[in-house]
């Protein structure tokens, strides 16, 4: 290449890529997903209409969708070249293994405790009286 190596200024002059319409579209998508999640969470709290573990799957998918929109649009990664996208996306795949290994470990630990730890097993069956914790009109920060 005949020209000198690129300087910061060469990357700062690119004004064609900014699209405020796309930004607002992303904002509305994020807001709608969040409001939807809340409505589902509150309706579930009031009525228990649905198995919670299926609902958790829905929440996780919604969260990943939100993460995708924030990374691709707000952080602009969706508009960078493939080399950069891959250098971020491939290491992030470690999270899949990370999650499966540790959650599996946690649930195995739970099973072992329930089988061999009598104290823990009894604790998990014993109901306690609900504790009243009122604020008694106290304002935050006032002792």
């Amino acid at each position: 290449m005949s020209s000198a190596s690129p300087t910061s200024a060469d990357f700062g002059k690119d004004k064609s890529s900014f699209d405020s319409k796309a930004v607002w579209r992303t904002f509305w998508i994020l807001l709608c997903i969040t409001v939807f999640e809340l409505i589902v969470a509150i309706v579930y709290y009031e009525t228990h209409f649905f198995p919670k573990h299926i609902l958790n799957g829905v929440f996780v998918i919604m969260t990943l969708a939100k993460a995708f929109f924030i990374i691709a649009e707000f952080m602009h990664l969706g508009h960078e070249i493939k080399n950069l996208i891959m250098t971020i996306a491939i290491p992030a795949c470690l999270f899949i293994w990370f999650l499966i290994a540790f959650i599996w470990d946690g649930s195995s630990f739970h099973d072992l405790r329930m089988r061999y730890d009598k104290y823990q097993y009894e604790q998990s069956k014993t109901k306690v009286k609900p504790v009243e914790h009122k604020e008694e009109g106290k304002k935050p920060g006032v002792e």
Binding site: M1, S5, P6, S8, F11, G12, K13, K15, S17, F18, S20, V23, F27, L31, T34, V35, E37, L38, A41, I42, Y45, N56, F59, V60, T63, K66, A67, I70, E73, F74, M75, E80, I81, K82, N83, L84, T87, I88, P91, A92, L94, F98, F102, I103, D105, G106, S107, H110, M114, Q120, S124, T126, K127, V128, P130, V131, H133, E135, K138, P140
Partner: protein, 224 residues
């Protein structure tokens, strides 16, 4: 949809960045990756402990208060307000980046100012929430809430809650500091002199990352 590049462009043959971004921005991406793994480790350890427990407090019971409405309970309303504030401040940050690309100093200052306000509003909300939970008796090592099935809960819930939201709040706080420095530099005309607003873009990446982490914290603590 990747950026359009000339056909046959040889990215790895030297002479140019194979990632087509400035060095500082690439390094910001790698820093954010490492930070993502730190937060990931926190949240996954939270998940592991939660899976190893037979029951857990109900977030709809714990997070049902809202300032200035007294005893009335609205589950999750306050935390949705916090989420909205953070998403909104992410939007103003993108606007600041866009104004920077158009070399519009006044607009950058306006949007940066709004972003800082959003960050401070979020921190204020978090301070209120922490104070409220503290008044109810929750803190590191103290958990007044019982499990959803009526059994005695451990302090794991409050320990993880305060550690992770605290670590996130600390990130928001540093983001506000960074954005304030960027606002001052814009106001002094530093970026006008260097001819580009790439520093705003790098601060923006950090700020969006804080928003991104909140999305996961929100799901893990308030929804699941």
């Amino acid at each position: 949809m990747a950026q359009t590049v000339p056909v046959g462009q040889k990215w790895w043959s030297g002479g140019r960045s194979p990632f087509n971004v400035e060095y500082g921005k690439l390094m910001m991406w790698y820093f954010l990756m490492s930070d993502a793994f730190t937060f990931g480790a926190f949240l996954i350890s939270y998940g592991t402990i939660r899976f190893s427990s037979s029951s857990w407090p109900n977030p709809n019971e714990v997070f049902k208060s809202f300032p200035f409405i007294g005893e009335m309970t609205v589950p999750l309303a306050f935390v949705s307000l916090m989420t909205f504030i953070l998403i909104m401040s992410s939007v103003t940050m993108v606007m600041a980046v866009g104004a920077g690309q158009a070399q519009d100093r006044k607009a950058v200052m306006k949007w940066m100012f709004l972003t800082i306000l959003g960050g401070l509003a979020f921190l204020g909300c978090q301070a209120w929430e922490w104070t409220h939970l503290h008044n109810e008796g929750a803190w590191w090592g103290r958990n007044p809430f019982m499990n959803i099935d009526g059994t005695q809960s451990s302090t794991n819930f409050t320990n993880f809650f305060f550690t992770i939201t605290g670590f996130h709040g600390f990130h928001v706080f540093s983001g506000v500091i960074i954005n304030t420095i960027m606002l001052i530099k814009t106001w002094r005309g530093d970026f006008q002199r260097t001819g580009h607003y790439l520093m705003i873009e790098k601060a923006g990446l950090y700020w969006h990352f804080v928003d991104l982490v909140w999305v996961f914290v929100f799901t893990c603590f308030y929804l699941l």
